[in-house]
C-alpha cells in the first residue's frame, strides 16, 4: 500500500486498478452509492410538479432538470461499479433501507415555490458540498463530480430565477416563496451533516482526501453565500440569530435542530416512507421488463 499512500501524498488520483486499502474501497462505495441514491430519490420531490408546472417553459426546465438527476444517478452508479459494486445490489440496499440518501429529500414539496427554493437552497448547498469532491482522490468519482457540479449550477440559477420572477408577481406568490424559504432553510443547513464534534468519520476521510473540508466549514460557506442572495430576492431567512460578525468575517447563525436531523436520517422524516415506497414500486413494476430485456439479449447472443 506504499503506492496508495504515495499517490495520496502527492495529491494524485487513485484509479480503479490501483491498489487501495479495503476500508478505502468500502468507504468510497458507500459515499458514491449514497450520492447516487440521493440523485434518484431526489427526482421525486420536484418530479411531482412536472405535470403541474404553470407555464410550458417552466415545465421544460423542470423536466430537463429531473432528467439530469437520472443521468447523474446513472454515472454515479457507474463510478461505484468501477470499485466492484453492482448497481442492482446497491438499488436493493436502498430499497431495503440498508443504505442512506440525503435526508433533504424526505421533506414534502407543497407549492411550486418549493421547486424554486430547492434549486436555490438545496442545489446551492449541494454545490457547496460537491465542488470540493471534484478533487476527491478517487478518479472516477472526482471526474463525475465535475460534470454534476456544472449541471447543478444550472439548476441553482434556474431555481433562483424562478423565485425572482415569482417575487415580481402577486402577493400570493410572494407569500408562497417566503413560506417555502421558511420550510427549507433549516433542512438545507442540515445537508452538511452533523457538527464536526459529532462526525466521527471526518478525520479519516480528510486524511484519505475523499473529503476536503469539515461539515461546519462548508455550512458556514453556504450561509455566507446565501444571505446576500436572500436580500436580493427580498425574503427573510427564518433565523433570529443570523447576523454579520465583523470579527470573524462570517455570519453567525442559530443551531439547527439536530434531533430532527437524527429522526429524519433514521427514517422518521415526513416523506421517508413515501419516497422508498415509490422507488420500490417502480423497481418491482419494472422487474418483468428487465427480465424480458435479459431474456431477449440471451437469445440474440446464442
Amino acid at each position: 500500500m506504499l503506492d496508495f499512500e504515495d499517490t495520496i501524498a502527492r495529491d494524485q488520483r487513485i484509479e480503479p486498478r490501483d491498489p487501495m486499502p479495503e476500508a478505502y474501497r468500502k468507504t468510497m462505495i458507500r459515499q458514491i452509492a449514497q450520492h447516487a441514491h440521493s440523485e434518484i430519490i431526489g427526482m421525486q420531490p420536484e418530479g411531482e410538479w412536472i405535470t403541474r408546472a404553470p407555464t410550458l417553459r417552466r415545465k421544460a426546465i423542470l423536466l430537463a432538470k429531473v432528467q439530469d438527476e437520472a443521468g447523474h444517478g446513472l454515472y454515479l452508479y457507474s463510478a461505484a461499479e468501477t470499485l466492484g459494486a453492482d448497481r442492482g445490489d446497491l438499488t436493493t440496499r436502498l430499497i431495503e433501507g440498508r443504505q442512506k440518501y440525503s435526508s433533504i429529500f424526505n421533506y414534502p414539496t407543497l407549492t411550486f415555490a418549493d421547486v424554486g427554493v430547492i434549486g436555490w437552497l438545496v442545489d446551492g448547498a449541494a454545490i457547496c458540498n460537491q465542488v470540493p469532491l471534484c478533487r476527491s482522490s478517487y478518479g472516477p468519482y472526482g471526474r463525475a463530480m465535475i460534470r454534476i457540479c456544472k449541471e447543478e449550477s444550472f439548476h441553482q440559477r434556474q431555481g433562483y430565477e424562478l423565485l425572482m420572477t415569482m417575487m415580481r408577481g402577486t402577493d400570493v406568490q410572494r407569500e408562497m416563496v417566503q413560506d417555502a424559504v421558511n420550510r427549507w432553510w433549516w433542512p438545507s443547513l442540515m445537508m452538511f451533516g452533523p457538527p464536526d464534534g459529532d462526525s466521527p468519520n471526518t478525520a479519516q476521510s480528510m486524511a484519505w482526501k475523499i473529503k476536503r473540508h469539515t461539515n461546519d466549514e462548508l455550512r458556514q460557506r453556504f450561509v455566507d453565500m446565501s444571505v446576500p442572495q436572500a436580500v436580493s430576492l427580498g425574503v427573510t431567512l427564518p433565523d433570529p440569530a443570523l447576523r454579520w460578525n465583523e470579527e470573524r468575517g462570517h455570519h453567525d447563525f442559530g443551531t439547527p435542530d439536530w434531533d430532527e436531523l437524527k429522526r429524519v436520517i433514521s427514517g422518521d422524516g415526513p416523506m421517508n416512507a413515501a419516497r422508498i415506497t415509490r422507488r420500490r414500486q417502480a423497481h418491482e413494476d419494472g422487474a418483468w421488463v428487465r427480465a424480458a430485456a435479459a431474456a431477449h439479449a440471451r437469445k440474440k447472443a446464442s
Binding site: 495529491d11 427526482m43 407555464t55 428487465r290 427480465a291
Partner: protein
C-alpha cells in the same frame, strides 16, 4: 489537478447547447423567416399547428407521468428526453398557431388571467403582413404568451389532439406500443411537412424528424424486446397491441387541408416490420368493445390486469400489411364525417350535432375521452389557481 478545476468549470456557462430543445436558452428557429407567406391560409395553418401541437403536448404529458416510475435508469433518461422533445415541438407549434390566427386562442373570459391570451400577431386585414418574430424560446420576460394561453386556457372540447395520445398506459408494454404508433405516424407526417409552405412549420418539422426518428427507434426496440423476451412480456406486449389497435383508425380522420395524406403505407410497413420482429400478432380487427372511448385510469403505472391477452394470442403472423389495412379500412370514417366547424357553433354544440358512432368520436373535432379532462385538471390546475401569477 488544475486540469479539472471545478471552480473554473462552474463559471463556464457557454455550453448551453447541451440543453434539450425547448428549454429556453437558444432559439431553435433562429434565422427562419417568421412571416406567413402570401397564399397560406392563416386559419388553416393555425388549426393544423394546433392539432400537431396538442398531439405533442398531451403525449408529452403522459410520458411525464412515467418520470420516476421507469423500469430502469436508462429508460428514465430516455422517457424524459422524449417527453422533452415533444414538449419543445408543442411549444413551437402552439406559438405558431397563436401567431397565425387569433381565433384559435381562448376568449379572454375563458382563459385564466394566469395564462392571458397573447397571440403575437392577430390576423390582420393584410393577410400577408409580416408577423413579429417571436419564438417560444429565449424570452423569459413575458409571462403571457400564445403557447401558455393555448395550453392552460382551453377546455377539453377545444383541444384537437387525437385520442391515441390521451390514453393512460396500463403498463410499460402499453406505453411502448402507443409510443411506437405515435412516433411512426408523426415521423411519417412531419417528414412530409418539411417542404410545406409555412417556413416555421417546415422548420419545426425538419427539427422534429431527427427527434422522432430516435423516439420510434426507442419504442421499436422495446416492442421487440418485450415481444421476444419472456412468456409474461410476450403476453403483455400482445395485450398492449390489441388495446392499441382500435385507436389507430382515428389517425385516418385528418380534417386539415394541410395534412399529408400519403403516410399510411409507410406507417403500416414499419408497424408490420416491428411486430413481426417482436413475434407479436396484429389484431385482425378492432375488438368489439370500444376501448378508445373508455375512461382511462389516471395512474400511469397501474399494474396491468392482462385479462383477455391469452385468448387473443396467436403464434401465426397473418399477412401483416393487409391486416393493418383491413383493420383501418373497416373503420375508416373520414368521408362520412361532417366537416369541422371551428368558431361556428361553439365547443359544446360540435359534438352534439354528430350522429355518434365510435368512429365519429375524433379528437380532431374536439371529441375526447374522459382521460383528457383528467389530464387538463392536472396540467392547468396550478396555472388557473393563481390569478395574475407570473412564473
Amino acid at each position: 489537478m488544475s486540469f479539472d478545476d471545478a471552480y473554473g468549470a462552474l463559471t463556464d456557462h457557454d455550453d448551453d447547447t447541451r440543453w434539450a430543445y425547448g428549454t429556453g436558452f437558444a432559439d431553435p428557429l433562429a434565422g427562419v423567416p417568421a412571416a406567413i407567406p402570401p397564399g397560406v391560409d392563416r386559419a388553416a395553418l393555425a388549426e393544423y399547428c394546433l392539432m400537431l401541437g396538442d398531439d405533442a403536448l398531451i403525449m408529452s404529458h403522459r410520458l411525464q407521468q412515467w418520470v420516476t416510475l421507469a423500469p430502469e435508469l436508462e429508460d428514465e433518461v430516455a422517457i424524459a428526453n422524449i417527453a422533452l422533445d415533444l414538449l419543445g415541438q408543442a411549444r413551437l407549434l402552439l406559438t405558431r398557431a397563436a401567431e397565425a390566427s387569433a381565433d384559435v386562442a381562448p376568449a379572454p373570459a375563458a382563459a385564466s388571467s394566469a395564462a392571458a391570451p397573447a397571440p403575437v400577431a392577430a390576423s390582420s386585414a393584410a393577410g400577408d403582413a409580416p408577423v413579429a418574430a417571436s419564438s417560444a424560446a429565449g424570452d423569459a420576460s413575458t409571462g403571457a404568451r400564445g403557447e401558455d394561453a393555448l395550453a392552460f386556457g382551453r377546455g377539453p372540447a377545444e383541444f384537437r389532439n387525437v385520442q391515441l395520445v390521451e390514453r393512460a398506459d396500463a403498463d410499460f408494454a402499453h406505453l411502448v406500443a402507443r409510443l411506437l404508433a405515435f412516433a411512426t405516424w408523426r415521423l411519417a407526417v412531419l417528414d412530409r411537412l418539411r417542404d410545406t409552405a409555412d417556413p416555421i412549420l417546415a422548420a419545426v418539422a425538419t427539427k422534429a424528424v431527427k427527434e422522432l426518428t430516435y423516439h420510434r427507434e426507442y419504442a421499436a426496440h422495446w416492442v421487440v424486446r418485450l415481444g421476444d423476451g419472456t412468456d409474461e412480456s410476450h403476453s403483455r406486449m400482445q395485450s398492449a397491441i390489441d388495446a392499441l389497435w382500435p385507436l389507430l383508425a382515428e389517425l385516418d380522420h385528418e380534417p386539415s387541408p394541410l395534412a399529408p395524406t400519403t403516410w399510411r403505407p409507410e406507417f403500416n410497413a414499419i408497424l408490420s416490420q416491428v411486430l413481426t420482429a417482436a413475434t407479436v400478432a396484429e389484431p385482425a380487427a378492432a375488438p368489439a368493445e370500444s376501448s378508445a372511448a373508455a375512461p382511462a385510469e389516471s395512474s400511469a403505472a397501474a399494474p396491468a390486469e392482462s385479462s383477455a391477452a391469452d385468448a387473443s394470442l396467436s403464434t401465426e403472423a397473418p399477412d401483416a400489411v393487409s391486416a393493418v389495412d383491413d383493420a383501418a379500412e373497416m373503420s375508416l370514417p373520414g368521408a362520412t364525417l361532417p366537416p369541422t366547424h371551428r368558431g361556428g357553433g361553439g365547443g359544446g354544440a360540435r359534438a352534439a350535432n354528430f350522429e355518434i358512432s365510435p368512429l365519429a368520436e375524433s379528437g380532431r373535432d374536439g371529441v375526447h375521452t374522459p382521460a383528457l379532462a383528467e389530464i387538463l385538471d392536472e396540467m392547468q390546475g396550478l396555472a388557473r389557481s393563481v390569478p395574475g401569477g407570473v412564473w
